[in-house]
Each structure stands twice: as C-alpha cells, then as structure tokens.
Symmetry: C2
Subunit: 361 residues, 2 copies
Amino acid sequence: MERRTFLGAGAALAAGAVAMPAVAQSMPEVKWRLTSSFPKSLDILFGGSEMLAKLVSEATDGRFQIQVFAPGEVVPALQALDAAQNGTVEIAHTASYYYVGKDPTFAFASAVPFGMNTRQQHAWMMNGGGLELLNEFHKSYGVTMLPAGNTGAQMGGWFRKEIKSLADLNGVKMRIAGLAGRVVTKLGVVPQQIAGGDLYPALEKGTIDAAEWVGPYDDERLGLQKIAPNYYAPGWFEGSAMLHFFINLERFNALPKHYQSVLTSCAAATTIDVTSKYDARNPAAIKRLVAAGAQLRQYPPDVLEAAYKATGEVFSEIAGQNANFKRVNDAMVAFRSDQYLWWQVAEASFDNFMIRARARG
Amino acid sequence: MERRTFLGAGAALAAGAVAMPAVAQSMPEVKWRLTSSFPKSLDILFGGSEMLAKLVSEATDGRFQIQVFAPGEVVPALQALDAAQNGTVEIAHTASYYYVGKDPTFAFASAVPFGMNTRQQHAWMMNGGGLELLNEFHKSYGVTMLPAGNTGAQMGGWFRKEIKSLADLNGVKMRIAGLAGRVVTKLGVVPQQIAGGDLYPALEKGTIDAAEWVGPYDDERLGLQKIAPNYYAPGWFEGSAMLHFFINLERFNALPKHYQSVLTSCAAATTIDVTSKYDARNPAAIKRLVAAGAQLRQYPPDVLEAAYKATGEVFSEIAGQNANFKRVNDAMVAFRSDQYLWWQVAEASFDNFMIRARARG
C-alpha cells in the first residue's frame, strides 16, 4: 500500500524524474527459456508452450519473453525436468509422470491407473490441497509446478487382436508407460517402452502386439488403425492426464511479484485452452478414425476388474517403501472417493441420459 | 517488433529521459468498477469477482484496479448487464441467462435444458466457435463476454412430495428460472419466480411445492432439506451453468492491448478457480445435506423423457421466431451431438466404472 501511494497516479507522474525509476523497475525486461517434452507434431501439447509464451508476452507488453525450445534443441524430451532443476532453462513443459523413475510420487500430478477425471484432478490441484502437497515434494528437486492442461480421458490402446476376456491379454507385448506397465504385468501383459514414432513399424513387424498412446486426436497421426484396428476404451490408466510447467524455484522466487502473478494466471489460461482443444477436437478425430477402419471396443469387465485389483496391489507395495508416495496416494484416494460419491448424483446421471438420448436420435 | 527494439533493454534504459514516457505509458493507472449479480452469501460466485480484481491488480503491480460492488450497491442484481452496457460500470459479473427476457439467445452462454456438461460448454466457447458467435450477438448490446467459471451439473430441485412418475408433477408449483420454466409448463408444472432468500418461507407456507436453486454447496445454506427433503438429480435444465464477465465494449477497446490481455488471462484463471471450488466443495456439502435429512433421488425416466421432448418443442417454437436464437441453437446442437458421441467412448465409461468400483468399496 505504501509503495502504491508513493507511485501515485502513474500516468500523471510519468514525465517526472522522481517516479521514473520505480515505474521502469516495475516492468523489467526478463528473458526466460522453456524446454518442451512434446514434439511439435503433438500440436495441442507443444502449442501449450507457445500459448504460455504468447500470453505472458502480451500481458507484459513484450517485457517478459519466454523462448520455447522443442525436444532436443536444448535437452532431450525426457530431461526437461532436469533442465529446469539445474537452471539450464527456467521452465520445463512436460508431464510429471515421465519422471516416475526418479520417484513414483511424480505419477500423481499427471495420472495414475484408476485415478480421477479431468475436473476432479483440477479440483484436487487447485482447491483440494493437491498442488501444495506436490509442490512440497517438488522442493527437493528445486522446482515448483503449475498445471498446463489435460488430455481428458485417454483411450486404452490399439490391439492387433480383439481382447474378449482377461485371458486374451496373457503374453501380449504392449507399449504402455509408467506405473501402468507395472500393473499390467500382473495381468500377464509384457510392457514395452517405445517412442511414438516407432509404434507403427513395431506393430507391423510384430515386435509388439498392442500400444497405448493418447486419445483420438493425437493417435490419429500414428495410423495404427491400419495395423492394430481394435481400439479400446476407457484408458483406465489415464482417466485424465495433466500436463505441467515445472519452474526453477530460485528463478521463480527472483521474479517481481507481478511477473509471478502474470506467469501463474497465464498458465491457468493455457490450462483451459489445452483442455478445451482436446475436448473440441477429439470428436471429429474419432469419427475419422472409425471411417479409416478403427474398431471401437470397450475393455471386457474382467479386464477392468483385474486391472483395478492389480493397481491396488502395486500401489500398496510402493506405499510400503516410499513415504512421499504413501502421503500423496492417501490424499488422492480420499479426495477421489468423495468426488465419485458426488459425481454419480448429478454429473454422471446427466451425461448418461444425454448419451442415451443422442443414441436414440 | 519495431517498438520493442526502440524500447530496447528496458531496465538498462530506465534512467534515460528518452525511454521514460514509453515505459510509463505501458503501465497506466486504470480504475474500473464491477457490479456483481451474486450476493456475498454465494461465496464461490461472489468470490469470482474478488478473484478477478485480485489477479488483475497483482499482474499489473496495482496499476489496474477493479472495484467490486455487490448487488444493490450500484445497480440491482439483475441489472448488471445493463450497467455494463450503458457504462455505469465497466464489468458485469453475472450469468447470461438472467437476460432471456431481453432475448432468449442469452440462455446459451449459461445453460439450456439438456445442454452440455461443463467441459463441453467450455470447449464450445473457447475452441468450438461459441464465444465468437455469442460475442457477435452481444455487440448490439455494447458488451463483450468472457467466461467466469461454471457451477458444474446442478441438482434438479427440492420437492416436498416424492415424484414417482410424470403424473406427480401435474399442478406442482415450482420455483424454476428461465427457459426451463417454459419447458416444465408443458409437463403440468406451474413455474414461479422467487428469490433465493424467500424460498424457505414460500415452501413452508405452501406457496410453492418445489424449488430448484444450484447444487449442494450453494443449496446447503437455504435449509430446504427440512421442509422439502426430496432432492432430485440431475438438474436436466442445467447440466452445467457458466458464469460470465460482460465488459463494456468501448472501454475494453480503449484499454492498452496488454491490459486487455491481462484481463482475459485473469478471467481464465478465475474460470478455473470458480469451477474447481464447486467441484472440490460439493462432495462434502452433499454428505452434510444427507446427514441433515435430504433424500437423494433420481428423476423418474418418464419425467426426463417428457422434459427432453418438451425442450425440443419449446426450442423449435422460439427458433421459428428468432434468427439469433436459431443460429446459436443450431451451432450448439451440432457441437453437443459430436461431444456426446465421443463422451460415451472414454469419459463416461471411465466415470461409470469408477462409480461402480467405489460403490463396491
């Protein structure tokens, strides 16, 4: 308040010598660098980096510039967090669950099997204590995190052969990432780690039998419907998948307060934009995929039940060895239980009626 | 680009006489006024006004101030749009469907019976052409609109007597707002317009038999479970309900470009915060309501079917007389159809599994 009073009517004092340094100081030039984990071909995801940079620049009249780098230009895709941690860049645009190798606790900010849907995950982060809890954990990595959007519920993957029951998963070699890989091992699946661009030849040669990627809009460009047309839902391992900006904590704290605020509000605007783009574009993409040969199928109930049970086992195992994981998992599970108690009352009953009404025409 | 080059390294040039006016000009003092349609007792909704003002002030180091007024302080609650239109205030924080009396086209930005869920509505607005279409319509009112959050799927109202089938609605006097009132007339309901604070005595005296308000968190403070305990879902007339900032178009256009950008990004941040607050707080509220005597019930299928059919009839009638309404309705219906085609595949099947899994414990 004192400071504002001192500055007084900024425009009126603008020509005066006394007020100048303070006014100028309030809009310093800042140049930051951002490295993305997402290739430019994933245009909604990579577009989140560009959107943040554009909004921050616009809000500061061009004074706060964020230069965006694609994977490999500064560091490889999956070293984005490290680059923000060690100050090579100020921001990593990535998904926290890429770093479960460092600590499985990193899974919760993005997605865990049978986790929460998009709105529930955002509610947990923004008004359910999730972000505070996770940023406490992130402190030891020298970064602070902001949400950067969500893909929505993902698809459950492309399979060469139809999966009619749990038994059909036995021995299936599937590209599946993160903790879900550990879960499906209990179902007889052999999880594989393969980059997106290599999925088509791997399925063609029979190196793998199945692959999960994202959802209709992002999956479309992989062309997997030609070679593994059985397209399963839901992506029980990613009922939603949040993306993130990890910001070097020291550099963030060194920003003027109002630049911190600009960055935070512009990240929120980016979050809405990215999520809305997936929601707006997935419907047309799934229609095109079906027209191109994709066979839409729902996972058989016994597969979902077995995966749900296996998830509980895997998470108990990890929680027994990792206090951070246990603390965050306990918080998520409690929040999720209350969320779905409410969700069934109005949200799901509205959606289910609308789905039936649409199907009848 | 030229301008930035001229300004050069702002901080370094800050002490120089030449650069000063440009720097000062970039952070002019602006004082705006906002009038809210929402009483302070609806703390999430009214809090959206305060959040916008706080974020805009923070992002501009206190230079762009928005003073928030509760209903009645400047204009009554439902004259907020008029106040923004005629320049009494710069911003109205309201819900567009309060203004269906001016033109029923105002309904679409908030909620129409059997409209879209929260994410679909946001996707339509932000990346589906909805906002452009509606702001074209708003031009003749001298305002431009930004989303300001969403209540999520609302509840379907409190009834003194249980509604076991469509026949039980005949003659029921129900507080229900907007176009939904016209729809329920076709179901034999007698719609009433009563302010929130008057609902309890109206139900107690038998002036009305039923009342819809919002959802668990906002409904809780009305105490209606004591007097009309049958609490119905879903709120088929508000599968989501978007709130808005209506901004005087001339004043918005007169803002420096970066203040326009700040306002827009901070409105997006407010949108996420408001929506997340409802999502985070509704579960505990519904548990408290049930503990206090609320009887949770789902609308009988024949009521939903009849309401769906009646909505189609009412909307056809209005579209036949109002070209704006027809244009926006056609766009919404097409977008909604594609949305629910996709929603059933992954989103709803994930949610429905999680609801069943939770119920089993």
